[in-house]
Assembly symmetry: C3
Homo-oligomer: 206 residues x 3
């Protein structure tokens, strides 16, 4: 029960982050809903395609899509002012990232996948929604440029698998993994932690 | 028979829309064919991956890819002048959208999927080809910005499933759903119908 | 044995090409690794999703991801100067393209797919990694714009299937197909071979 709620919370968080990006790009109401819903359920659909779950669970459980659409509509009508919108994006994106990394890894591990496969599936579930969102609105995905983004997903997925391997259940794994990933991600944003960048000889031609 | 022809017509329409974009971007002949073919068969491949049909039908039936490639080559050699090219893009894209939304939903429904799943598969089949096309040429997908684009796909898929649920066959479902979707999409372009956009406080920072 | 080495060589070549792009875009160390690893194993994952291999082989064999990550890290620390970086990108990309086109087609053919399906799978495996890389860093994929890129992949995949159909084994097919594709691609770059572009009436509005 708690487990299903955590999964829906992840979908909601990512849907809100996607809808906020859509509002900032001034898409119309349906564009906002499409970006929001794709971000919310996209990572899970990618997970199911990788694991061979057909059709993806979000196509079977109407709750998933409903939560994503309602979240997007709420953002459309009640979004914050433009100057504060990026702040909210980061926070909701971090919650989606954390919940999905732990949850995706737990789903894979429980379905009998190996430790390596489970962690990879968790990471891809977590970053998948954000990559879909960023590619749709034509920007470089945050996973490539943001503070400790993929590291946070890796931490969340790894912790969730560790909890399960030690005998914990999916709810505990999702809670612990999710909390660790969200904490690391938001702390790295707040502190401005960055990983090293390449030393370039010659001028930048990026 | 009519059913297969409608499916090929959808592939052709989307391939032409993709090839027109390729010509406008001044890609070489193979680039035009790659964009055209990806747009033509991409939505169906995505549908098959979601439904667990391996390998995708377009890899088995040479007709699909042949129609997409021939359509792209015809565009390359006989494309309209630059000033009129966008007009043709919209029309062919609308036909692809309409035929695929109804056809994709019908394929899913006949294979035993639920109403919800069938409509979602139809919508994704319909917008998938266009999203692939727009992401490849590095623009924001039309589904996020164009007039009633996703609404038209939803109407086409919903109508097709309704016809099947009422006892009609796949041909009738594809015809009625496709016609409704194409009509709504082209009417919304002609009339300039738009959905509401977010009210923004502060300046646009999109 | 040689066969597995060729597959890893393809992953390494593509990972290096992706990491070089990441360095040129000045991503941090993890961003470079994410682009490099996605480029290295992305084409193979796409191949497995199309063929219905769940989970993808790169999630099961730790060697694949290890090679991709190590290759990306080496690039991060030892990358060439900015002015020469594009040259290396083209060369490593050509090796990845050639090895994957032949290898992907061979994998599909041996698993019992038809000639058409095998060639298509080979081409998609070969261009998939590069498309993922280019979409991630927000540029138009090279397959649409570069010299004889898709033609080289088609040659490699076709030659590999021909070798297998004539009774050769997967190693021979990968070697011959890969060598042909790499040779054609690098020669076309060196000679500046281009395919025809559309004749445009009116001015360019690309």
């Amino acid at each position: 029960m708690v487990y299903e709620v955590l999964q829906l919370a992840g979908i909601l968080a990512f849907a809100i982050s996607g809808a906020l990006v859509g509002v900032r790009r001034r898409l119309d109401i349906l564009g906002v809903v499409v970006v929001g819903a794709s971000t919310g359920v996209g990572g899970g659909i990618l997970r199911d395609m990788l694991l061979g779950v057909h059709p993806p669970l979000s196509f079977l459980h109407w709750q998933n899509l409903t939560v994503a659409i309602v979240g997007s509509l709420v953002v459309f009508y009640l979004h914050p002012s433009v100057t504060r919108i990026r702040h909210f994006e980061v926070v909701f994106d971090a919650f989606g990232l954390g919940l999905f990394s732990a949850n995706g890894a737990a789903v894979a591990y429980i379905s009998g996948q190996s430790t390596l496969t489970s962690i990879l599936v968790g990471v891809i579930t977590a970053i998948g929604g954000g990559v879909i969102r960023d590619v749709l609105v034509n920007t470089v995905p945050g996973v490539l440029t943001r503070e400790l983004y993929a590291v946070s997903a890796l931490l969340g997925a790894g912790a969730a698998v560790a909890v399960l391997a030690l005998g914990g259940d999916a709810t505990l794994a999702s809670l612990i993994g999710g909390a660790l990933a969200i904490t690391l991600r938001l702390t790295s944003v707040a502190r401005g932690w960055h990983l090293p960048r390449p030393k370039m000889s010659g001028g930048s031609k990026a």
